[in-house]
Subunit: 355 residues, 2 copies
Amino acid sequence: MKHNFGAGPGILPQEVLKQAAAGVLDFNGIGLSILEISHRSPEFEAVLDEAVRLVKELFEVPEGYSVLFLQGGASTQFALVPFNLLPEGGTAAYVETGVWANKALKEAKFFGNVAVVATAKEANFTYIPKDFTDPADAAYLHITSNNTIYGTQLQEFPKSSAPLVCDMSSDIFSRKVNVSDFGLIYAGAQKNMGPAGTTLVIVKDELLGKTGRAIPSMFNYQTQIEGGSMYNTPPVFPIYVSMLTLRWLKAKGGVEAIQKENEAKAHVLYEEIDRNPLFKGVCVPEDRSHMNVCFLVENPEHEKPFLKFAESKGIEGIKGHRSAGGFRASIYNALPISSVYVLIEAMQEFAEKNK
Amino acid sequence: MKHNFGAGPGILPQEVLKQAAAGVLDFNGIGLSILEISHRSPEFEAVLDEAVRLVKELFEVPEGYSVLFLQGGASTQFALVPFNLLPEGGTAAYVETGVWANKALKEAKFFGNVAVVATAKEANFTYIPKDFTDPADAAYLHITSNNTIYGTQLQEFPKSSAPLVCDMSSDIFSRKVNVSDFGLIYAGAQKNMGPAGTTLVIVKDELLGKTGRAIPSMFNYQTQIEGGSMYNTPPVFPIYVSMLTLRWLKAKGGVEAIQKENEAKAHVLYEEIDRNPLFKGVCVPEDRSHMNVCFLVENPEHEKPFLKFAESKGIEGIKGHRSAGGFRASIYNALPISSVYVLIEAMQEFAEKNK
């Protein structure tokens, strides 16, 4: 049995995979595959409707927000956010908490001015900067809720008079969030919500249409809202599997229930990292991510052997990102706590052998 | 048994669906689903490499062209083509052969001037306009090789001194094409190449980087080329199924072999439409599509009953597009000629009952 700690595209629930495979052969018993039916068919429209409804329900999305399933990943949103929200000559504020935040702010520069109000670059992004002046005059304040590469996470969101825009790609639906605190939330599906190929956007309608800029149809959130995420052919299968994953989450008790599980998984794993003399954490404890647990070996000579040892136990995907090194165990929603215990046992067994 | 004549997302080969479903459960026996592995894993890199290689082989793509698998559908390309190829103040030439050509030229207006060098709008797009002046000064000449909605197809491509840009979404890999005649070819996968969620782009490298315009990373073909279609997480599963479909096409004998089958399918079906007194074709015979066969009933009262009768024979998806009416039988690569004969027999039986 494999224990999938990969950082993304990441683990999906086994029952979702079974349902998805069945749908590829024969979708809901209609005699056709989900891959070969029209997106305008009542069958797929029901899928998209349910996906949107589940997002609204699970995240308690208030009135006045639209929920979109788009394409292009969070990297496309890095450009679409300023395209739609940053007026010519205006300024957007960014908190730089890692590689993805940095990529986001670079794209904003194509559309206007960027103010980096805080950065943790000098400490290799091992903490979340929290003290900065409220960028009251900015078109928006952009934050990244979880830093997949270095393993930090915002445990509280900043207060801001400018609309808060948040990239939640790697922790969406992992914990309760007050959507009304945000102007826009976006997330690539492939870490916590579904497979690669679709991107969730939750946007406060009243923020749109104010830049004075002409926006091509596919890049304009308003076109996508009017088209109900079907201005053109949507990514049918990625949306289908995301819907199945959201349905699974609801059946598990929703975001509140999964948050408890995620906290328990993170707690036992960090406890072992702190306790085990062979390993050490990377980030400031108060900013540690509950999704991507980054850790190092005290003795660099143990790095390769531990990776190999873990693999022999069926543990997959714990090699750290090339820009961070060490190990990274991604413990997304679909990863059972039993897999975390397998990793902990492997760490203990390895320490026992190497003491 | 269902006979899937849907216009898109359209029919896929049964063996591809079986392989795809197996990959969702356990990809190549690695113990993980294709939906939950890293796009940077050697397993997925091999998939993407093979997909690119198969495109090059099947379409005989010459040196100097790049092959990309992107997201966003052809509708995104409507904007990316002028974003990347139309300099500020420059003019792009468009041939307007239907709804999709019209949508493409509208997006170009966000980036520069548009010259519509020919249109068939006055005849409700039932023919392909062929006489127009070579737009020698244009940044490019844009054409749409097949008109999915009205059922026309360019049987010959125009000569042009400007680079030829072609939307081949609905007939890619259905017939031989001389790629070196084109500056850029693009196609949404979901009609003839795979499921919804990925878009093929074949671009002549030397055309890029000449607009003087700063282009956000995800919209810049050069970024995508440098990233090998992996500047960010690609749509893993849609690319996988496209690769399986291309592999299937190669095993069938490639584009030349499928072209013969497609011509045979179109020939027998149009023959029946012309012969059967209850039905009539929509388009000028010389411009008729070999992919989307549009036809009408002579007596409008026969429309609904024939649709119902066809459905009773397992025939799916032949209702015409809302803007064209009547019937449309899409006979993409994966549709076997046996299904075409089922439709022909239904037409004959219906005519017998209603004479």
